[in-house]
Amino acid sequence: MALKHVNAVVVGSGAGGGIVAKELAEAGLSVVLLERGKWFTSFDDRKDDLRNQRTSALGASFGPDERNPRVYADNSGGEHVIPSNHWAYSNNAACVGGGTLSYGAMAWRYMEKDFRLRSTYGAVEGSTLEDWPISYSDLEPFYEKAEWEIGVSGDDSGNIFCTRRRRALPMPPLAPNRSFKILEPAAKRLGLHPFPIPMLRNSVPYNGRGACIRCRWCVGYACEVSAKCGTQNTVIPRAIDTGNCELRSECIAKEVVTDERGRVRGVAYFDSAGRLQEQTSDLVVVSCSAVESARLLLNSKSRLFPNGLGNRYDWVGRNLQGHSYTGAAGLFEQETYDDLGPGASIAICDFNHGNPGFVGGGLLANEFIRSPYQVVTGVTGEGIPR
């Protein structure tokens, strides 16, 4: 039996899809929200140091599972089919809420220069660096809306490098942990500008949910008290409450279907029983993470789109970047650790731009709470025993 036609199909219920589904549903459109994973609660998450979303040595709590391999090309062009716990997979959770169920939940805004990289740094050889077609001021109202609707705590008024926000964050920062208290005066002595990180985490009761209990099971885990704000505990319930949005979990999109004139007709997907279904719609929103969105578009081939949708210039799936970052560790005479979650608490943006000899830069922040195994394997370098 054919499924009832709807106004919009949203593929993926993560940071992007959850928000789009809510906006469309509140505007009165009928919406089907497709999600390949399940809707987990914290009680499905047994808080395991070797099996979680961040350290997936023994598996990832919220998927994707072994049925979702990716192809990784090494530097010499050799292609390898890799499982989801491979370091090169760039795993992002496959569940309702997507990465926002188990993320560390830093809530950064782009800086003005981030929208004008080409204008700022010129044509960088070997790069495709471009300016965005929008500016910071175009986006600011939406940053503000997201910060208030989803819930951000912190205080970046001490960050002199970003544009002054029109409206303060809705919640104050969490009380400083021990490393904050060490780093803040030290950074100031060096002439830097430290401030409490804006984070999608309730520091006080907000939006009908309680405040953070400062436990260690934060990044990589589902919050035990739902104090961490993701789409699964904010906008998605609101979308469903409108009565206009139906969430279909454990449904994997196969392709975006187009008609003979090249117009989108809907989405073909495998439902939770593995049956092929087609949901027709006026609109299709592809919001299933950078890598899987590209995969879905490339898989959506037809007579008019032989190389996949939106891929006339062969750029779909290129220039993607995983969530990699670098760090440094040091040994101290005094205790620096107090096991107070989420761990990351203080940052500087002094080096985001304007670094001689470099294009761009980045923020520096203290680390989230790490398990003993993460510390042992994460601290490497010359002169350090393996």
Binding site: L50, C215, E224, S371, Y373, T377, G383, I384
Partner: protein
């Protein structure tokens, strides 16, 4: 500096004690099918070799080492679960370690003096170890697995079969990490 160099040498006697303890700790067989040993996957000889290797990676000093902590049990269990794909890597690799030990010192790995064991492992790490078997398997890759899995077994949650009695967490002064908000479900603290 290499880790295996930087640790205290291990007496043969304490190694044997540890190996016996490790064998006892692995007495419950669940997974891959019975193979006439107390282990799920390993043979008795393989488990002895692996215990000796892991004790060079994390040797006992004032605190227990890897084999006492049940790292062999941890790896044995994971090879019948998430690490199923690595079964052949371990089977070949552990055979290779003994082959290399015989090539270099005319004895099996467990019978070597501590310095000789360290030498074998250093050559394994560098991928320059003798032995015909290493033509079909990467020695340095196997060494990488050995180190990583030993760290997981020693520093990971005891529920996975290693870190017996939370020994590494005690060493670090880290309490059994509580799950606040549902204390009633947390594993019981061992003293």
């Amino acid at each position: 500096m290499n880790l295996v160099e930087s640790r205290l040498p291990l007496s043969r006697r304490s190694f044997l004690q540890a190996a016996v303890a490790a064998a006892a700790a692995g007495g419950v067989s669940v997974g891959c099918g019975r193979n006439g040993t107390p282990w799920r996957f390993f043979t008795v000889d393989e488990a002895r070799t692996l215990a000796a290797i892991t004790d060079q990676i994390i040797p006992p000093d004032q605190d227990p080492g890897a084999s006492w902590a049940g790292v062999v049990n941890f790896i044995d269990r994971q090879l019948c679960g998430p690490y199923k794909a690595l079964q052949q890597t371990y089977r070949t690799g552990l055979t290779g370690v003994d082959q290399s030990s015989r090539g270099l010192y005319a004895k099996e790995f467990v019978d070597l003096a501590s310095e000789q064991q360290i030498d074998v492992l250093r050559q394994l790490e560098a991928g320059k170890v003798p032995g015909a078997i290493w033509k079909q398997a990467s020695a340095s890759e196997f060494f990488g697995y050995l180190v990583d899995h030993t760290m997981q077994g020693f520093y990971g949650d005891p529920r996975h079969g290693g870190n017996r009695e939370g020994v590494s967490w005690k060493m670090l002064g880290l309490p059994y990490p509580p799950i606040r908000g549902r204390q009633q479900n947390a594993p019981k603290q061992k003293t």
